[in-house]
Symmetry: C2
Subunit: 279 residues, 2 copies
Amino acid sequence: MTIENISQTKTFGGWHKQYVHTSNVLDCAMRFAIFLPPNASKSQPVPVLYWLSGLTCTDENFMQKAGAFRMAAELNIAIVAPDTSPRGEGVADDDAYDLGQGAGFYVNATQAPWASHYQMYDYITKELPALIESHFPVTAVKSIAGHSMGGHGALVIGLRNQESYRAISAFSPISNPMNCPWGQKAFTAYLGSDKANWRQYDATVLLAERDANLPILVDQGDADNFLAEQLKPELLVSVANKNNHELNLRMHAGYDHSYYFISSFIADHLVFHAENLYK
Amino acid sequence: MTIENISQTKTFGGWHKQYVHTSNVLDCAMRFAIFLPPNASKSQPVPVLYWLSGLTCTDENFMQKAGAFRMAAELNIAIVAPDTSPRGEGVADDDAYDLGQGAGFYVNATQAPWASHYQMYDYITKELPALIESHFPVTAVKSIAGHSMGGHGALVIGLRNQESYRAISAFSPISNPMNCPWGQKAFTAYLGSDKANWRQYDATVLLAERDANLPILVDQGDADNFLAEQLKPELLVSVANKNNHELNLRMHAGYDHSYYFISSFIADHLVFHAENLYK
């Protein structure tokens, strides 16, 4: 697994770097970004927070807009931001912003024309961490977070791989994709019409079906235009309460779906992850 | 002077808002953004930091990428980010990124085809603050900062209007535009070939010619690709030292020209401005 460095920028005493590599899982070239705190070194490797972005995003949105580096540097945590889908001319796409490139939904697609490249679940859970852990001064200790579609991804991936992640956090996650337009459209395309195959990618279903031993933090703005129709975090809370799962949903009055919301509370998420990554 | 609100987003307990208005000085529609800290109100108005952006930027770059709101909220400072030039189909432009729209250089142009709209110096020093002070819960106490072309703008505007601003700060400013390619190209186009007319817009010349009573903070990365050819902050320091001006140039090892650099040190600038705005 070779990777090619395409940018490196000093920030908050650490480094923001971008790389391209050929993904075997996705069968295309992929770009990711990593923030390395000032004190990360081979002799002092650091834990990693994986950040999954939302619809239309690349590796850049979080790194440029979240304002996460100050606290990540202070807490000695690396952050990895992958792209949100396979990319490139040979990769299936759709004109809509919520399907195809930029909208991988962190699933392994089974349906044509998507199945040949859209294997984001395996990319995020297997190929990418293996690559990160082999090339950077990081430990195998990791946690996962994300926004909107990426909040869905973080919840699903964390809940299905609790041995691999110390904690999950999400901003404005698509909490019950089987029951919202974004999720239904994507799951029908990528997974087919048999809803039995959707359940493994629905955080509310997963949280109802299995024990969750890792802590979950969710932040949601009540002025988010997508809250009622697409996000529905109250369903997550409902099943968590029923099953005594540790889930902290914080509703924030007046905040919307943007990075202005994320940046306002990202420091809390980093502290939450650090507490679990270093315990 | 009427203004139209086109976005408002809660962030760090305060508000990021964008407005459009018809500028009489620039004779076109202009957009600006303002950050209002949580406690700003008509009964408790706050001082304002004006941020001037660099080449190709709009009102959005600083607001999205600088990570300034946490500290501005804490210090109770409003931030106003104007656009970097007049805009629109009827406004002269050039295919190059460093001339025309997005590259106003904060001067009052005297040459065709620029003079009819490119009056950014008057816009920033007169029309915009009058508009801000009439529409928002702010005082007339202000300071000014900027990046690259906007660092040049902040230095020139602050030095020529010392009665109006409490402090100046700049990241990676074009410090001696008469003697670098960016400045020579822009000044020739906007001001004509007589260099006597350029001097009023050159911070190094201004600092050599007049007393500066307001404090100046300049941050510069030593891995900035534009440092040697375009920026030359050492010339500023040289004239400041010669004339006993208060200018603090901080060189930062390994940092470049990007917002990853700005975000790393913006908190220091906000503290510097707050100390002067509230003294």
